[in-house]
Symmetry: C2
Subunit: 120 residues, 2 copies
């Protein structure tokens, strides 16, 4: 029964937009990533996606023109099928929980797509 | 698309061992609770349970004699079917993610069982 220490996990890598798997529950993965700058618009047809900020600040744009601002200690669930575009100014550390089937760029294939994630 | 601010949610109640639902994803609930002292031994036959500490320190005992210590920024997933007993010294604020079917006392019915949880 291993406690997951997020700070220690983040210390194991430095690259951005490349999620690592740190745990699992109920057929979902717990993932962490360092992000900075703008990601691409995408959605996940079948998967709700939880975002939690560990450090920094994450913005998520939606097609209706709204932008969610997520700070440390705050969460946002992006419902399945909802187009969204994450971005941040400074480097931001995020945790995500989503079904194991989830691909980071959802319905879009790009150079940022990661089909296989490292488990740390 | 509503950002869940955990501090604000905890400010909405003061009673202990009475989880509130603050969100949902993939047929699971995101719950928060204030806890202090010792809970009962129990398990959840079908549900993995994620514990995250927001404030304070949570201990979880297991039948093999091990005790996990979870501090803020740390997580523990208790796999389905695993007997566990949470406890804390000072008041501790925890977040849990688990299937919507999960009852707080699992396989045990006690005065601490909550079958219906408030959504805040």
């Amino acid at each position: 029964m291993k406690v997951i220490k997020l700070e220690d996990k983040f210390a194991q890598f430095t690259d951005q937009w490349n999620p690592r798997i740190v745990g699992e529950l109920n057929d979902q993965h717990i993932k962490i990533a360092r992000v900075q700058g703008e990601f691409i618009w995408h959605n996940h047809a079948q998967e709700d996606e939880l975002f939690m900020v560990v450090k920094g600040r994450l913005y998520i744009d939606f097609r209706d023109g709204q932008t969610a601002e997520i700070n440390p200690g705050e969460l946002l669930v992006v419902p399945r099928g909802t187009d969204h575009r994450p971005h941040s100014e400074g480097e931001t550390w995020i945790m995500m929980i989503e079904p194991q089937s989830t691909v980071n760029t959802g319905d879009v294939e790009s150079e940022r797509t990661r089909h296989t994630l490292e488990q740390i």
